[in-house]
Amino acid sequence: MDNKEAKFILQAYRHGGQDADDPKFAEALLRAQRDPELGKWFAEERARDRAISNKLKSIEIPYDLREQINAGLRFVENEKTPWWQRPSFIGIAATLAIFIGITLSWSFVSSPTEFAQLRSNAIKYSNDFMTVDFQSKDLSSMKVWLEQNDAPVPRDLPRNLASLTGMGCRKIGWNGKTVSIVCFKNYDLYILDRSDCPDAPKGKTPTFYSKKNMSVASWQDENQLYLLVHKGSKKDLQHFL
């Protein structure tokens, strides 16, 4: 361990000393004790952390916040009154009956397949998605990170797609299965084991789908299923496949 690495680790050390017994910090702490330069840096780091922490903890709490939370609790407690004792139960029951009727009839008309759910979730996720677990422009580095984190790794990507500049990647769970997301600028590639979504369209030829302003291309190779999600047209996607 050199001083640079020690500093990186010690930046996660809490200024109050609560982490003194955590073995993760042991070597870096020892080094800070022995190396005067590192020791000086560490003392300054803790003093600065303490000052920032104290400032942030001085944020004033609204005087009525506690009371408002307790009022919310009383509301929940009231909700626990047995339903048959509530005057509105007939109305609720009638509404529920209509709702169940509509839901049942809908489920007979349209039962989404697992693949359709996956595609729909991917579109929503790409719309809302904010952060990556690992930032990198380089696809090879992202592959290494995914491999190390037991997430599906993209294998033979179309050349145009593989040449895009990356932004990062992350690993998520979906219905108990592991999904990798490799993010390029404006394009998100979802990868999962093809056996995790058996009803997905087979074959290497991409299948396209569009909903509002989002487009998705999906295809498979020998082992994996890929979904490329893009905020834009099918034509944009075709360029990379």
Partner: protein
């Protein structure tokens, strides 16, 4: 759910949750809503949590999720990060931070991208360990350390900038009076 245990939970964590809410949303009004919503969800669903020692982590995770639900960000990544840290100056001294107004520290924190701001807030506000941050945000430990390191650099740079701006804005009263006279 026993009312007394709920009350204990409120008393133990509502202030810390509110402050975390401020660091996420940047304002007291949204932070109050987030805090109330978090306890409301606990009152309805908290009984499903088997391990009560995880209540603290559960509350912070829930507040964070509620914040994400209410936030639709069009900008997914911050490109300025590398550029921002390029001209890194000497880190701001602790005694200088102590002289700053708390609102400046909060404002500076709110300017940092969420990726770094959220672990940083948990670290500074609630003394979360890197392991607890990892558990609360569901990100690997190494990623937490990296985000803390980068987040700290961002925050110091912003604090340093705000302190310099403050200095530049200080004008001796005599100069102001002189200017007013000349303006008639």
């Amino acid at each position: 759910m026993a009312t007394s245990s709920f009350q204990n939970l409120v008393d133990n964590y509502y202030e810390a949750l509110f402050r975390f809410g401020v660091s996420l949303s940047g304002n007291a009004s949204d932070a109050s809503d987030l805090t109330q919503q978090t306890f409301f969800i606990w009152a309805k669903k908290g009984h499903a949590l088997r391990d009560r020692s995880k209540a603290k982590s559960w509350l912070f995770t829930t507040l964070y999720r509620e914040f994400l639900k209410n936030t639709r960000r069009s900008q997914r990544f911050i490109y300025q990060e590398e550029q921002m840290l390029e001209n890194e100056s000497a880190p701001i001294e602790a005694d200088v931070v102590e002289q700053l107004d708390a609102s400046i520290v909060i404002e500076s924190l709110s300017k940092i991208d969420e990726t770094f701001r959220i672990p940083l807030s948990l670290f500074y506000l609630e003394d979360f360990s890197y392991k607890e941050i990892s558990e609360t945000l569901n990100i690997p430990v190494g990623t937490v350390m990296s985000r803390l390191s980068r987040g700290k650099k961002h925050l110091r740079k912003l604090l340093d900038d705000s302190q310099k701006t403050d200095k530049e804005n200080i004008v001796p009263i005599a100069n102001i009076q002189e200017k007013e006279k000349s303006n008639g």
